[in-house]
Symmetry: C2
Subunit: 681 residues, 2 copies
Amino acid sequence: MDVKALAAANPEHWSRATAIRALALDAVAEANSGHSGMPIGMADAATVLFEKHLKFDASAPDWPDRDRFILSAGHGSMLLYALLHLTGYEDMTLEQIKNFRQWGAITAGHPEYGHASGIETTTGPLGQGIANSVGFAMAEEIQRATYGNKVVDHYTYVIAGDGCLMEGVSQEAITLAGRHQLSRLIVLWDNNNITIDGPVTLSDRTDQVGRFQSAGWEVIEVDGHNPDEIDAALTAAKKSDQPTMIACKTHIALGHAAQDTSKGHGALTNAEQNVEAKALWGWTAGPFEVPADIKSHWEATGARGADARRAWEERFDKMSRTKRETFNRAYALDAPKRLSATIKAFKKQMSESAPKLATRASSEKVLEVVNPVMPETVGGSADLTGSNNTKTGDLGVFDTDNRAGRYVYWGIREHGMASAMNGMALHGGVRPYGGTFMCFTDYARPAMRLAALMKIPTVFVMTHDSIGLGEDGPTHQPVEHLAISRATPNTYVFRPADTIETAEAWELALTSKKTPSVLSLTRQGLKTVRTEHRNKNLTAQGAYVLADAEGRRRAILIATGSEVEIAMAARDILQAEGIGTRVVSMPCWELFEEQDEAYRKRVLPGGPVRVALEAGMRFGWDRWLFGERGRREKSGFIGMHDFGASAPAGTLYEEFGITAEAAAQKVRALLDGKWQPDPRT
Amino acid sequence: MDVKALAAANPEHWSRATAIRALALDAVAEANSGHSGMPIGMADAATVLFEKHLKFDASAPDWPDRDRFILSAGHGSMLLYALLHLTGYEDMTLEQIKNFRQWGAITAGHPEYGHASGIETTTGPLGQGIANSVGFAMAEEIQRATYGNKVVDHYTYVIAGDGCLMEGVSQEAITLAGRHQLSRLIVLWDNNNITIDGPVTLSDRTDQVGRFQSAGWEVIEVDGHNPDEIDAALTAAKKSDQPTMIACKTHIALGHAAQDTSKGHGALTNAEQNVEAKALWGWTAGPFEVPADIKSHWEATGARGADARRAWEERFDKMSRTKRETFNRAYALDAPKRLSATIKAFKKQMSESAPKLATRASSEKVLEVVNPVMPETVGGSADLTGSNNTKTGDLGVFDTDNRAGRYVYWGIREHGMASAMNGMALHGGVRPYGGTFMCFTDYARPAMRLAALMKIPTVFVMTHDSIGLGEDGPTHQPVEHLAISRATPNTYVFRPADTIETAEAWELALTSKKTPSVLSLTRQGLKTVRTEHRNKNLTAQGAYVLADAEGRRRAILIATGSEVEIAMAARDILQAEGIGTRVVSMPCWELFEEQDEAYRKRVLPGGPVRVALEAGMRFGWDRWLFGERGRREKSGFIGMHDFGASAPAGTLYEEFGITAEAAAQKVRALLDGKWQPDPRT
């Protein structure tokens, strides 16, 4: 690679791009940690994108109609931080760049959503950005169809590396984008043929061009260091009626001693080599210095979109007040005023009719009343629509000829769905929810964790939430998955016991602004246990006394979801024997933990023996059995101790001993002082 | 589709294939649950495969040189059960078929490895079978290169559906197979254009032919109901020097009223329609009846491989005794005799030299002595070889020109790696281990769960196991992942504290026959805490007293991994103040749970205050803090309460309060009766 010739061919472009290179090199060297080579290699493409194509205004990072830029190859975070700094994002100061990867800085090792303006999503776990981008582009289409292209008219740009493209989730993403012909989605592939272990060919020889084409994409191949080729490709991509992948042939760590090597992927910290690289680049400024003319050109780029933004604001103001309010409300994640009354009315009706329903069917009933009053919801399922009960009558199906459709057939792509839902939530203006079997939490996990980390309220509708799924057997029966989601910070896990609690859970999920929700719903029918109407959302307290003891309180049964009715039946048995028994329904551990000590103590007083019922692993339950005024020798667990089995649900509950009689017997034994450790305590 | 013409064109083939169809239809109808349409649609292809190509002997299901048949579309389990029954596998009786999906039957909803002979892997979670198959085919290549093609010379056949191909993991699998030109791998795609939600085109329009070709596969397109075309394709595929995908255009639920509809995907239980379908098929036998001539032809197919198997046994017996012993020992999952002595010698050396090492580096040191004495190990990493420290000098790299190579560069494919490792373990003869960052447990989860469910000893080397990873930040810092693996049944989670415990953990992982292992290893350097050599494997007890209190025992510190040395430092502080403090190292919860009550009581006696240290979420720790003779008001936790942050590791430990002084202070407060709830208890 003749770097000097490159620089000479387009000196102005070169100096602007090299400002990125130099900042990345300096910041990584200062931190002695990070990834220098990718920002250096993709500086040319990013420069052309920001300078000539990306619609943005650095002074208004939240402008809803901005183009979105997603750095899927998140390890190259300094590329993004340098761009944000150079174009004048207020919070991305030089000080922050100098504190790259240090405690308290907004310049984390990988871009963290919420840390700094202009970071559209958290990336680093590979493939997530490109999968998010599908949701971004879908949300744009839905909003454009809803509000018109005077108000919604933007693109989603992605920079993805070989790592992103090797991750399976990228295939789910690109086939979705191809299926829906998301023509506003443009991916720049950093084709540098280097991974951490060595040349890409060590582990992969995929023809990426053919792969994208077979997924329905347009592909354009360019020299990733030639600004004119990049510019022409971006221009063509914007005009295409397909999603476009621009394959940018690049050199990682261009011009550095580590160029084109896996060493160039990591932190380039050799001071002498770094000096040499800068010399070859023709970069004479000191560390962290950007010559004024270059900085000022970059700042002009950052301000380039200001006029367009102001013009947009004028157009926005011309929309009807109702539309403006709905638009802004949805972006602010404020629930519509009518939601609360709708839920209350629904609860009243259900507590009166007291249906026996699987909570997945309860969930559909809730959505039937919620979706009409909450036009920002976008539902979907990973090919289990009829099983997850996620589709309601009025949504319409999102498709190439129905961009306003609010239901997505995600196909058998749990991971892609979860990640794209995150993208929708990040885009703003829509509230995504999507379903699969709870066991396939496993497939969606990487994206579910990122929703929690990013503090976005994606809703995961996880049905068939226990051995109650029955005959499909242990591959499809979650036993550890409640624990998995509960162990994850900033995640609400709702396991409602009946239609009323399901409605309450949905209300909490749809009014959450910072926390994703997992709805754990049954396949099997459940009695309504909340037959006395209360306007108050009891699920908001996490746990509450569903039925108190008659006479002296000698036992407390704590249960969630489908096991609450079993606890109620156990209470009937025990009360008939004169054993005063309280039943506590605990639909959300996390919210109960948030209550004050006094409330928790009222619900779970010390003294009585305590038995928990949940058709999952005991893991984590000791918190409530021993930890909250409980005692080991006075407590027990009725649930699973291993994987499930294939048989009808009723048989499984009997065989695994999750029955009212088993719970009653456990209470009797504890009251008799006959404590026994569980098979797996 | 003119079914009568189909039947007439190849009457003998038709009647044999229709025996499968009828059994599937009857079993699903009897269970009132399951999937009828796929076995009906793929019966022709499966019949040709079993009748003319698959090398197997139903009387010797464990014959190591059999071809492997993997039903990746596991919901069509009746296809497999019917084939096993018809060809005469002893355990697959008609009674079992009649008890499809019932308690205690070996005919679970989805094929469960270990339930019946001829089930090569557990499938159902889509995409797993095809991803397993890469490991099967690699294991075959490695074994063939090691033992020669007189002893190892077989194929891996897969039936995969649209669901398998939509899952991202299938992309990881097919690009790996393409990269390594696994020409012994042949996938039959059930191209029926139907998923649960409707036609495939609802969610996908991928050109699968182009997709496989761009991954380096040969593709052959056939009419999936034409036995001659299928036969010719299989013959060609076996000769190809690429992996081959045979696209079988089929009709789901062929000949049934539900043919070509998503209804046909599920349980066909309408008695009248089922009678009509059988009539159209020309099938006159009663429910669960197979006419004697057809059954006898199928049994001949099941016995077809007997001669080849006997000839193989003769060839096998001609191998040198050493080779035979090693071959059989590896298949039996017996460790080499030298392993134990090797580990003991290593431990002795390390306890004397007491290196300060990251446990990932300790792990490499262990592998350096283990791999030479255990030729069946196959290592690898998902593009983090230098970080996971999984490659040792003598392994050689598996590649197209080095099939005996024992190290796989998996690329950025954690899920595909984990699933392919399962395939290797299932194939037998090799013991796979592979590494990634612990946070990417999330990506590998679906396969890790299946290893536990299948009871196979895959080893997952998870390095960078806490905030100790440092600057990469919260996207890369596991906090809930220890809990995730611990909550999973039948999984050993080892978190060793130093090089000695790492060696002990490896010994346990490599001698396990039924349980997969997760090795949780640090990025950061750790002191050797086990400086006194013991031949005994203390990690096998799960937890043990590393340092007892001097004087009256007033406190117990329980710690794992990198926090053990912090606990030891806290003990120094406390002992200096006259507070007798015991340190318990707890490298494996599951093994400690397996110890008898007396041992557990010796390690964790009641009385002293108790503080646990682990740089992860508290979730699950109450088991040891409260549950095992502990008490809430006398216990505390030093660890994480939320996601991590991006900064140098030392800073993070300080900022998150995971320090010796914080632990000492917690003990002092507890002894003073000043218990405080943790931020997230």
